[in-house]
Symmetry: C2
Subunit: 150 residues, 2 copies
C-alpha cells in the first residue's frame, strides 16, 4: 500500500473534521465512532497531527480537536508527510538506498513521471476540496446509502 493505515486514518479523520462546518472542537470519540476506528489508536494518530500543527487540541469538557488553519490551507500532502514522513519525495516507492536523478535505477524514467503526478496531486488537493467532493458523492448516493467511508 502506498499509505500506512495510520496515514489513512489521519486522512479520513481530517477530512471528516473539515466537512463539519462547526469551527469548535470535535471530540475524538465522535470521530472514531463515525469512522469506525479504535478511539485510542485514532487518538495517537491525531496527536501526531497536532504535533505537526495541522490540528489544535483542547482538553476537558467542550474540548477535542479542530483544524489549526482553514481547510483549504491543509493539503493531502501535509497530512501524508505528518504521518508517513517524506519518503514519497526523498525516498521512493522502490526504496533503493541513495538513488535519485543522479543515480537512477532502471525504473526511474518510467516511475519518476508517475511519482511526480502523485506528488503534484497531493500538493494541490486540500482538505476543503476533498470534503466538498465527499459531500457531493454522498448527495449522489443517498438513494443507495452506499459510499466508501473516507
Amino acid at each position: 500500500m502506498l499509505l500506512s493505515k495510520s496515514c489513512i486514518y489521519a486522512l479520513r479523520a481530517s477530512v471528516l473534521i473539515a466537512s463539519k462546518k462547526n469551527d469548535g472542537f470535535i471530540t475524538i470519540r465522535e470521530l472514531s465512532d463515525e469512522l469506525n476506528i479504535s478511539f485510542h489508536f485514532l487518538t495517537k494518530v491525531l496527536q501526531e497531527l497536532t504535533k505537526a500543527e495541522l490540528l489544535e487540541s483542547y482538553k476537558g469538557p467542550n474540548g477535542g480537536v479542530k483544524l489549526a488553519r482553514p481547510a483549504n490551507k491543509i493539503t493531502f500532502m501535509d497530512v501524508v508527510e505528518s504521518i508517513d514522513g517524506d519518503y514519497m519525495i526523498n525516498e521512493c516507492v522502490l526504496g533503493l538506498p541513495g538513488c535519485g536523478v543522479m543515480k537512477p535505477c532502471a525504473l526511474h524514467d518510467q516511475w519518476s513521471v508517475l511519482k511526480t503526478d502523485i506528488i503534484n496531486m497531493m500538493n494541490e488537493y486540500n482538505l476543503e476540496a476533498i470534503a466538498k467532493n465527499r459531500e457531493l458523492q454522498r448527495s449522489f448516493e443517498r438513494k443507495s446509502a452506499q459510499f466508501a467511508n473516507l
Copy 2:
C-alpha cells in the same frame, strides 16, 4: 511504500537474471551476492516466482533459476502480482473496504487516474526493457561507478 521489500527483491533479481544473456541456470547465491540480499531470504522470494511460473528452477550442480519465458513476455506487473498480489487492481492504495467506481471515496476521482497510469506502466514495461534500460544507465555512469542497484 507501494511495493513490499520482498517484491522489490523479486524485481531486482528478475531484472538481473534478464540482464544476463546466458540462458542457462544462475545460482541464487550469485544473485544474492551481486544484489546484496540475504541468500536465504532471496531463495524464499524466488521460490514464489517459481510457483507463479515466472521462473524455472533446477537443483544440483549447474542448477539455479532462469526465466520461464522470454524476458519481454514477463511484465513488471507479473512480478508484482506474484509477490504482493493484486491489491493494486482490486484493492487500492487507500485500501477502503468495498470501495470502487460504484462506491467511490472522496479521493477516487483524483486517485483512480494515477492508479490507472501506474497499472498501465506495470503492464507495459517488461523485464527485457527494464534490463536494457539498466545496462544503458550503467554505460552512462561508468565514470562515476555510481548507480542505484536495481
